[in-house]
């Protein structure tokens, strides 16, 4: 029986047209119990909101929010040449990292457009962790696995690894209550990480995030996440901690002008026009996409991603056309929503270079209605 089962399973999959069933993180039951609205997101059932997007957004800005981001991909590269292989695949410079340091970067293809945006972590000279977007998981597994061949070991740790983000001005106060050496985690520098025990759970804690607030992202074993979540929620609630969903995560990152893959960046955009030139190190001897990006850099950019404020009555949404004041279509909105902290209707979009100066007025085509907008300085929100 044992050896026929896989064949039957294979046959069933080939014959069925229905999409694969949605996966659940180990925190699924917690979300449902907390009253979250669950939505399909990159193959997972994830919480979009619990009490309300604005309420959760404000909790992160003023106190603390806890996010389940276990859907994200965790890849590991091990061996003497692991660092060099990683460095070859990314636009930023991995060679300058020390053990326990992390780096935000793009990974590009040969055409210099963006395969994914990543955080890479140097655990040791011969051990590197890569966190990729859930939506790009399969693609990035293929990229890293292929590059690792004959040079270093590759392992996809996604299914074994849970990821909890604790974000907000009170994140370290919450951690300080979590026992063990968690109180000392406040000594971590930004974009640094180390192993720790938090609420009796062995984990790796990084001072990184996607909200524009101070805080940490905590990696732990898939099945340890519920215990860690429960402890942090119990300890944090008196300080104003709230579980926060994908909805708040999106408004928080937009106010802080952090790119969202699939919205603001993708395989049709390059890092320079997307405002991510600071993670492209053309002085590196070689990396995938270098030649193409040198060409991009050598000539004036046709278009750029800008931040804007909708000054008329409307909300810009992903995919809405952007028009000049004469009504000609000149660009596209990539992200937009009301900004709960800034109190304005904000967005990101690609505009011709000539229209990207701060103060430039243009129109957002909100389903046939042209609403006025103006290019503004970003980030829209910066923590004090």
């Amino acid at each position: 029986m044992a050896d026929t089962a896989p064949r039957l399973d294979y046959a069933a999959r080939v014959m069925s047209d229905s999409p694969p069933p949605l996966r659940r993180t180990s925190l699924y039951d917690r979300h449902v119990k907390a009253g979250a609205r669950m939505v399909p997101f990159t193959g997972f059932e994830m919480p979009v909101q619990y009490t309300g997007i604005v309420d959760e957004h404000q909790a992160v800005r003023t106190a603390c929010g806890i996010f389940d981001v276990s859907h994200m991909g965790e890849l590991e590269m091990r061996g003497e040449y692991a660092g060099q292989v990683v460095d070859y695949l990314i636009t930023n410079d991995a060679s300058k990292l020390v053990d326990g340091q992390a780096l935000y970067t793009c990974a590009c293809n040969e055409q210099g457009t963006i395969l994914d945006d990543l955080i890479i972590y140097r655990a040791a000279q011969d051990r590197w962790l890569i966190v990729c977007n859930a939506s790009n998981h399969d693609k990035m597994v293929a990229v890293f696995e292929k590059a690792a061949k004959d040079h270093c070991e590759f392992e996809d740790r996604t299914d074994a690894t849970a990821l909890i983000a604790l974000q907000g001005p009170k994140a370290f106060e919450v951690l300080a209550l979590a026992g063990g050496d968690a109180a000392k985690l406040v000594e971590l520098k930004s974009f640094h990480f180390r192993d720790a025990v938090v609420a009796n759970v062995r984990c790796t804690v990084a001072r990184t995030g996607y909200t524009g607030e101070d805080g940490v992202e905590i990696f732990c074993a898939w099945n340890d996440a519920p215990a860690l979540w429960d402890q942090l929620v119990t300890l944090g609630q008196p300080l104003g901690l709230k579980p926060a969903g994908l909805g708040a995560r999106d408004t928080l990152r937009l106010e802080s002008r952090l790119s969202l893959y699939g919205n603001d960046i993708d395989e049709t955009t390059n890092p320079i026009e997307a405002g991510l030139g600071w993670v492209v190190k053309l002085d590196k001897p070689m990396f995938v996409g270098k030649a193409a990006l040198e060409k991009v850099k050598a000539s004036p950019l046709p278009r750029k991603l800008v931040g804007f404020e909708v000054t008329g009555r409307g909300v810009a949404r992903h995919g809405y056309p952007l028009r000049d004041m004469d009504g000609n279509e000149v660009g596209i909105c990539t992200s937009g929503s009301p900004g709960p902290t800034v109190g304005k209707s904000i967005g990101l979009g690609y505009l011709p270079a000539a229209m990207t100066a701060i103060g430039t007025k243009f129109l957002v085509d909100c389903r046939g209605k042209n609403v006025e907008a103006v290019v503004v300085k970003t980030p829209f929100y910066k923590r004090s």
Binding site: I53, G247, D250, R313, V315, P340, S345, R367
Partner: protein, 130 residues
């Protein structure tokens, strides 16, 4: 889920209240829950406009999404809730009260008999939630 008796409902999650030939229109608590924090109510009609049943008369923007408002009956717009311009959150706070959107002088007031009563709407919500 709050579904008051005595109102009639549409499958687009709007409520209507008949008073003589005047039909007051708003969105239901279920719609509000689905939309989340409402940030903008755009009514594309003004008092005196004729509207046809099923036609969009405005949009409602929440933090996450945008939704159309559809006229439940044909008729003439006789009142619009101007307060929503500055206070769209009234829809969140009081969907069946201060969150009303327009009043339509219905050409055929009996048309609202075709809409769902509270029991039928409750069934519809149950089906929509899955």
């Amino acid at each position: 889920m709050n579904i008051p008796a005595g109102l009639k409902y549409t499958k687009d999650h709007e409520w209507t209240k008949l008073d003589g030939s005047r039909v007051t229109v708003g969105i239901t608590a279920f719609a509000v829950e689905q939309l989340g924090d409402i940030t903008l109510v755009n009514l594309d009609v003004k008092v005196g406009d004729e509207i046809a049943a099923g036609k969009a008369f405005g949009t409602i923007e929440s933090v996450k999404t945008l939704s159309d408002l559809f006229a439940p009956v044909s008729g003439k717009v006789v009142e619009i809730n101007k307060e929503l311009d500055a206070k769209p959150e009234l829809v969140n706070d009081d969907a069946y009260g201060k969150g009303w959107m327009v009043v339509i002088e219905a050409t055929e007031p009996r048309a609202i008999d075709q809409l769902l009563d509270e029991a039928a709407y409750a069934e519809h919500v149950k089906a929509s939630a899955h």
